[in-house]
Amino acid sequence: MSMAFDILLALGIVFTAGTALGLRDRIASVTGFVITGLLIALSFVRLGAPDVALAEAAIGAGLTGALLLRSALRLKPAEGSKSPALQRFLAASIATGLSCALAWAVYTAPGTALYPALVSEGLAKSGVDNPVTAVLLNFRVWDTLLEIVVLFAALVLVRIIAPAVPQPEALGELMLPFMRVIIPVCVFLSGHLLWQGATVPGGAFQAGAMLAGGFLVLFMGGLALPTPRVMAFGKALALAGLAIFALAALATEALTGTLLFYPDGDEKIWIIAIESALTLSIAAMLYLLFCGMPRRPAK
């Protein structure tokens, strides 16, 4: 019975993706993208990866959708005429050929599972019970450090290009009571997600994305407008996360002799400390990526 659900979900994903890419109206295609993102998050749950489903829903569908919507309203629709029929037919046949070859290649790959044994063996002394958090923040924490550098590089790039700051128009008087309920719940849930990341699905990225969502609601409601003070605070918070992570890495090498090898016994303290710093800095980075970093901040 569950296979019928999977087939239906897979067809739904491909169908909404096709419509999202095919529509002329930009807002509709961005909405199609968000819906596909949420369906893909559901498929990750079916594939037994709840952490990734949380991240895909919060970041992949939520924040990327907000970014796309902001730009869809401001970009001029290109007067792109339909490309010639022959080119479209050629592109379609090559694309279907490649994707079928890809599906066949992955389908026939032997797929020997090597990592689960290693992860479960190292899980005991990794300080956390959730294997994904153990991999992200202990076994392969070097990847996570470089990933935060990617967000830092994106931030510096957006600061150089300095696109115009989005101006939220007044949303009426209902926003204030709505924010009064949503913002505290959002902060509470983000902290809960961060803390439970050690044992059950959750963690720094999902919590950071939820906090960034809260900041965006404040921004829409007109409370967190990018004034110079807010931007300075946001930039300091964003840079502090990466600085703390790099200094913690050097500190672990000073204490234990190998880079990012947490001193025995208090791995959990190190991981929770790094994760909370990351949550705040990821939230600030995603807020700044949404609002752009103006050289001449909005009055």
């Binding site: 009426g172 209902l174 926003m175 709505f178 309920v181 949503i182």
Partner: protein, 97 residues
Amino acid sequence: MSAVLYVIGLGLMTCGVVLLLIAALGVWSLPSAVSRLHALTKADSAGLSLIALGAACVNGRLDALLALVLCAVLVALSGATMGHLIARSHVSEDEPE
């Protein structure tokens, strides 16, 4: 006891799904934007709360119940507010200047 709870849960969830179907039909067929919003907000608040309550009954554990109730309340709240905001932007557009 848990069998009765299970049946009630299933019943609630089917009602919720039926309500969602009707709302989807409404969104598809109703002409103007505001009337479509009417259908949408019903789906959000009523349909989803029924499904959440049904799932809570089927599941039976207390912490799952709390999480599902919180989820239903949040979706209902944001659904109503978004419906209001979209209606506000449509009304200001359609008003003859």
